[in-house]
Symmetry: C2
Subunit: 366 residues, 2 copies
């Protein structure tokens, strides 16, 4: 990676259990596709970062309390047991039901004025937690979900203990998972777990910056009413027909004590580097104004030009420049989110981290 | 049909457009199946009823106001245009997307505290209205949905104008459709449209009795806060793992002014005639206590022993006896709901209507 002119010093927090989640595809508009959130993503990123010289460190083991600080115990319990329940339910795998997929969803259109109650059967219950048909669960999913959360928490703790930056190679990703529900190929919210870990370590003001190509509706919803964690996101406009469709609009500014601590910048498809970096710059300016003692960066690289899941057309140089802008803000715990083009994924992540390293060095040099 | 010892005099309201809805299957737990809510159902029932001597009458044409009395205009608008929107969206039919199937659903787990807003793209928007993956829309669906609603309304108007009983051969069925949403193979709520038509014709107190094997969550939700329309249902216990999973429990008794005007009797799988008829009798007793000037009967015959969609094991004689009990209550507009065993479906519907006719005759005699 001589193109970056230096060695990547940011530690990579990684556990092989993150490979154990094999969603086996996703169901989009009633049809099962191969899907793009595959274990190979993590392998490609790990190869690029180790080739760049980054040290790899293991996560600290699982602490349930760290999950429960941002997630409903019912969601965590569901994710821990849903595969076993599915197997016990006897849904015939030979008819394609080899993964957990919901079919009925307790929306307001269904429930009307009645309260939500938990269904007895897992095939009815799963739609209470999982809000789409894209986010399948299989035999090794829970182990990977837990390992990804551990990686996120460990990266945050490294930063809290003085490391300027640490990167969690989380898979599955997390930013679409809310306090009580999962979707968008996300199960537990790794970025929220990291932000909460920073708060728990005594850091007063945390900013989550989300540069994944999609809005991080889960992270937004978890911190929507809180003034201590700012959430800012640049993403493809859900109003242009993109996931998560229902959320991610500019008018969503937070609620109650959190009013003003949420900022979305939706971009038109095809925006490219200039408009994207302008938005990243606006978010950084807001973080400076709001004040943040540490940053969590939700690093999805699916804004990449070659990515099959978004139309934002951002280059690797764009990600490097974004990393530099964010690195100037202070200490950063980086959480891997999306990014699905296996040929360019590793280079994009490396570019963002090299940019971050350079931005932090420049800021330190004053 | 000499086994019934008489000719069926109840008029059958029927329109051929009800055959135009060809859902093309249903997606259950991520896999598309052939489905059981097929046009042949209506043909089989029509053949049995005409063989029994019943007169067939056409529905009065569409009156949008009649739909809007029980449904949100946004739902009606969605159903009227969703297929055209889908076609315009260019979802490739050659990959199996020949029908409208949602993939993301704005549940509380997704939205958290944020308000529901209508997505721009139809593939995101459909999950706001359709709460499951079982209820597909295709080219002729709207014409059938509208025709079924017309049949229901016409049957109610026949009853309001003095006919002791009228039967609407509705397809698709309706009792899972709520004010703002659809699911469970139902789109508009034919029974609710009939009940509202009775009210609009000046009938003060209406009772909807629902003997479909599944809970009519849509009808319940539409009238949940109203004292003028009683809703009573016997169905397989959703707590035993049956659709609609989230609703249909005994504790749901209505709300506000409607408190006490809702009664669910969930039954265990395998209950059979005796327990089922006991529940029907309890519902009839409640209707007598509450007082009703006319009854809407949601006649699903999927409690049939041979039905593939429920485990209640009720015989045709059971349905005849239920019809007799309900016929004794007064004038009845009968709305076809479920029933999926094509070999016995016609006989079951005929048995229920002969029972109803006999019950009304007995009550008139004395």
């Amino acid at each position: 990676m001589t193109m970056h002119g230096s060695r990547l010093g940011i530690p990579v927090v990684w556990h092989e259990d993150c490979l154990r989640h094999q969603p086996g595809g996703e169901v989009w508009l009633g049809v099962r596709e191969d899907g793009t959130e595959v274990p190979e993503r993590a392998r490609v990123i790990l190869a690029a970062l180790t080739a760049a010289g980054a040290p790899v460190v293991p996560p600290r083991p699982h602490d349930p309390a760290a999950l429960l600080a941002v997630h409903d115990p019912a969601l965590v319990g569901h994710l821990a047991t849903v595969w076993a329940d599915w197997e016990a339910g006897g849904y015939p795998a030979d008819y394609g039901r080899d993964r957990v997929v919901p079919y009925v969803f307790p929306t307001a259109a269904m429930l009307a004025s009645l309260p939500l109650r938990t269904p007895a059967a897992i095939h009815g219950r799963v739609g209470m937690f999982c809000y789409d048909t894209m986010t399948l669960v299989g035999p090794g999913s829970w182990e990977a979900i837990r390992a990804a959360a551990d990686c996120a928490r460990t990266a945050a703790e490294l930063v809290a203990s003085g490391q300027p930056a640490a990167y969690a190679l989380c898979r599955p990703p997390g930013h679409h998972a809310g306090r009580s529900g999962y979707g968008g190929s996300c199960y537990l919210n790794n970025a929220a777990i990291a932000a909460q870990a920073l708060r728990a370590a005594g850091i007063d003001r945390v900013a989550v910056l989300d540069i994944d190509a999609h809005h991080g509706n889960g992270t937004q919803s978890i911190f929507y009413g809180r003034p201590d964690v700012f959430y800012g996101s640049v993403h493809v406009d859900p109003g242009a027909g993109w996931f998560p469709h229902y959320l991610g609009f500019a008018g969503e500014r937070g609620d109650g004590q959190g009013l003003g601590a949420n900022q979305n910048i939706p971009l038109a498809p095809g925006s490219g580097d200039e408009r994207w970096l302008d938005a990243v710059g606006q978010l950084c300016a807001q973080v400076r104004t709001a004040g943040a003692d540490a940053v969590v960066l939700s690093l999805g690289v699916d804004a990449a030009a070659a990515d099959p899941e978004s139309p934002l057309e951002v280059t690797a140089d764009g990600y490097r420049a974004a990393g530099a802008l964010i690195g100037e803000l202070g200490p950063v715990a980086v959480i891997q989110e999306g990014g699905y083009d296996l040929t360019s994924l590793g280079d994009y992540v490396a570019a963002a981290l090299f940019g971050l390293q350079a931005g932090q060095a420049a800021a330190a040099a004053g």
